[in-house]
């Protein structure tokens, strides 16, 4: 069994302002392995310093296609892998890729689905829409993007046989033409399966709304690989912690952990591993959005944003109100 193999860039198109779409074909006649909607492949690329790196890209074509299609966003401030592909993956070039893997699988059966994409997160969502359409399963697709110029696959969506089941909301459009996230779940019936892919903050907002509207955690599916994220680890910034019981406000400087800052203020939090692995310091967050850096919380628990691990996690908002 071979772990990676070469494919040929058969076609390359500028899909949007910073996005190229690549059509990948087998080398020398062998067929590409089969895949299912939601699957991604690893593509070998190079970072800014020329070191080899792997990046994950969702397959966005149709499950039955003989060729694969991926869309590569070169975001400003990215770690590099996408930039190399933009420069090097020209027509006729060979790329080394892995076989498809699927951690974002569609459900079996006929339960209705809501497909929600933010920006480049449209890639697996589009493949899912095609698969559900073919299976005759009821779904609605919601696509949120900044502008028509930056959004890939707008034309493909408009021409798709399921165009009437797709709602596109662009930040640049007048408010009346944008669908608020709170409306996605209007009329959703029990058992509706939610699939969401996009930047972390976007997925969090959608997931939070879904939970409030009564969707079961097991019916919420998020794509978790990193390529849809802004590919930079954010620098440590200072933020504030407000202690709910006392109203006291503690500042966490860039060089200290929230546990350190609380200890200096005389507030002891129980810790054990001090690395975000064990969860001993888990603390309830009443307001504000944590930036989770732990490996303890399960994905759906991180998405709820109602607690965080102060030994290593930080804040995406200026202040977190803690239930202490």
């Amino acid at each position: 069994m071979q772990e990676t193999f070469e494919v040929l860039v058969e076609r390359r198109m500028q899909g949007a302002a910073r996005i190229v779409t690549l059509e990948l074909a087998p080398v020398a006649g062998a067929a590409l392995p089969p895949w299912t909607a939601g699957a991604h492949i690893d593509v070998q690329s190079h970072d800014g310093a020329g070191r080899p790196v792997q990046r994950q890209y969702s397959l966005c074509g149709d499950e039955g296609d003989a060729h694969w299609c991926i869309a590569v966003l070169d975001a400003p401030g990215a770690r590099g892998g996408a930039r190399w592909l933009h420069a090097a993956a020209t027509q006729g070039r060979r790329l080394r890729v892995s076989a498809p893997r699927n951690n974002f699988r569609l459900h079996d059966g006929s339960a209705p689905a809501l497909l929600v994409a933010g920006g480049i997160g449209i890639t697996p969502i589009l493949a899912m829409a095609r698969a559900l359409h073919r299976r005759g399963v009821h779904f609605h697709l919601h696509y949120y993007a900044r502008s028509a110029a930056s959004a890939v696959f707008l034309q493909a969506l408009a021409e798709a046989p399921f165009a009437a089941q797709a709602t596109v909301s662009l930040d640049e459009a007048p408010a009346a033409e944008r669908q608020p996230i709170s409306r996605i779940f209007d009329g959703a019936v029990r058992g509706t399966q939610l699939y969401v892919c996009g930047p972390f903050g976007f997925m969090d907002a959608v997931t939070r709304e879904a939970t409030q509207r009564g969707l079961a955690p097991t019916d919420i599916h998020r794509e978790l690989f990193a390529s849809v994220e802004p590919e930079t680890v954010s620098e440590n910034r200072s933020f504030e912690l407000e202690i709910r019981s006392s109203g006291q406000v503690v500042t966490v400087g860039p060089d200290m952990t929230a546990v350190d800052a609380l200890a200096r203020a005389g507030i002891e939090v129980v810790v054990s591993c001090e690395q975000g692995l064990c969860g001993s310091c888990l603390t309830r967050v009443v307001d504000g959005l944590p930036e989770h850096r732990d490996q303890f919380l399960l994905p759906e628990e991180q998405a709820r944003n109602d607690c965080f691990t102060p030994c290593c996690s930080r804040a995406r908002t200026g202040r977190l109100v803690l239930d202490l």
């Binding site: 772990e3 951690n103 810790v271 692995l277």
Partner: protein, 404 residues
């Protein structure tokens, strides 16, 4: 009609392959009362995680047992309890927090990362002594030695003391590992604890006089908020580090090699793509990991999945069952060396999350990578493959292989 479900880990079929029974328990009786064990058996992922995390359970399972003893065993065990009560795994905050912070300052990720080269050297040293063409018991000739040598080197204790230390450690395990039906197990456990404690008391005295850069010297020097470890805490922690540092990693190495030999396509995959070793080790930890269960005592009456647990009840949260719970893992019974995400519970959760996790991972990566690369024709050899009779730990006692 289905047969009545009963979890009895001494059943040889269950010992060989416990997973079908775990699955039935998850489906039919996820919070199961085992009459042979007089204990609750918890098998679903979410419930196992709850048991590890909840303050409604206590990890100090030894003291209640000890307190309940009324005969001479109580006197015999008092010497063992003196040290075990100071083992971090049985303590609670605030003492746990103080000691764990001190140990975190010694066993840092940087310290472990710096050991990759010396671990590779130890693997080479062990493998060099294996004559080609002869079948070997992988457990005895490799898996037992590597983690022991690594931890002895860290403590700066001569490797040739290992056979003696190993005997004390095995005797102590009679008490902690719940092996039943052994003659005079309490006396042996006490003697093992006494000898090991004496041994480390001497080592500590030497290091106080002539400090080195080994972890014993670092533990002596460590202090947090002006507090250092007490003498008994130092002795107990050396014992724990030694005990925890070799038994479980030995079992991980054995089960991992067996999984590789049983799954030739996955082995090919790793051999063609050595970079898979990171996810591969996580998958070995999940697939048939060395922490079969964690033991707890119910501290406060409460319910799990509709069953009423009473204060003082003994609970075994089955890590290896949770790691194959289809409610949490896709294709749970399939070995997939590229599995990601892989949120297995093998190192525990909460306060007692394994301090040695980075070291165990590194030893497994170095050892298994070397085996796959160096022995393309390695295969099972004739002879029995035996699993240990233990409830809390899981591992092989023999694994005959040809390393060719």
């Amino acid at each position: 009609m289905t047969t009545t479900l009963c979890y009895d880990p001494t059943d040889p079929d269950v010992r060989r392959d416990p997973f079908p029974l775990y699955q039935r328990l998850q489906d039919e009786d996820p919070v199961h009362w085992s009459e042979p064990l007089r204990s609750w058996i918890i098998t679903r992922y979410d419930d196992v995680r709850h048991v590890a995390l909840t303050p409604d359970m206590s990890s100090n399972r030894l003291q209640p047992f000890y307190d309940s003893l009324k005969d001479e065993r109580r006197d015999i065990l008092s010497g063992v309890m003196r040290y075990l009560n100071l083992w971090l795994v049985f303590r609670a905050p605030p003492e746990h927090t103080r000691v764990r912070k001190l140990l975190n300052s010694v066993f840092t990720p940087a310290l472990v990362a710096s050991m990759q080269g010396s671990i590779a050297g130890t693997v080479d040293h062990i493998l060099a002594r294996i004559e080609p063409g002869r079948p070997v018991d992988f457990m005895r000739e490799v898996a037992v030695l590597l983690p022991a040598y690594v931890i002895l080197d860290m403590l700066s204790v001569p490797r040739d003391h290992f056979p003696e230390i190993k005997k004390w450690s095995d005797d102590l395990r009679l008490f902690i590992g719940t092996a039943r039906g052994e003659q005079d197990k309490y006396t042996r456990a006490r003697d093992g604890a006494d000898r090991m404690a004496d041994y480390f008391r001497d080592v500590i005295r030497e290091r106080r006089e002539v400090p080195g850069d080994d972890v014993v010297s670092r533990m002596i020097a460590a202090s947090v908020d002006g507090h250092a470890l007490t003498e008994d805490e130092l002795v107990a922690t050396c014992m724990l580090v030694l005990f925890g540092g070799h038994e479980t990693t030995t079992n991980l190495l054995g089960s991992a090699l067996k999984a590789l030999l049983d799954h030739p396509a996955q082995r090919e995959r790793l051999s063609a793509n050595p970079a898979l070793i990171d996810t591969a080790v996580e998958e070995f930890l999940r697939f048939d990991g060395p922490s079969n269960s964690i033991a707890r005592v119910v501290a406060v009456d409460h319910e799990i999945a509709g069953r009423a647990l009473r204060k003082g009840d003994r609970v075994f949260a089955m890590i290896n069952a949770a790691n194959r719970d289809p409610r949490r893992f896709e294709r749970p019974h399939e070995l997939d060396l590229a599995r990601s995400p892989n949120r297995h519970l093998t190192f525990g959760q909460g306060l007692h999350f394994c301090l040695g996790a980075p070291l165990a991972r590194l030893e497994a990566k170095v050892c298994l990578s070397t085996l796959v690369e160096r022995y393309p024709a390695m295969r099972a050899a004739p002879g029995p493959v035996d699993w240990m009779d233990a409830l809390v730990m899981r591992g092989l006692s023999t694994l005959p292989v040809h390393l060719d």
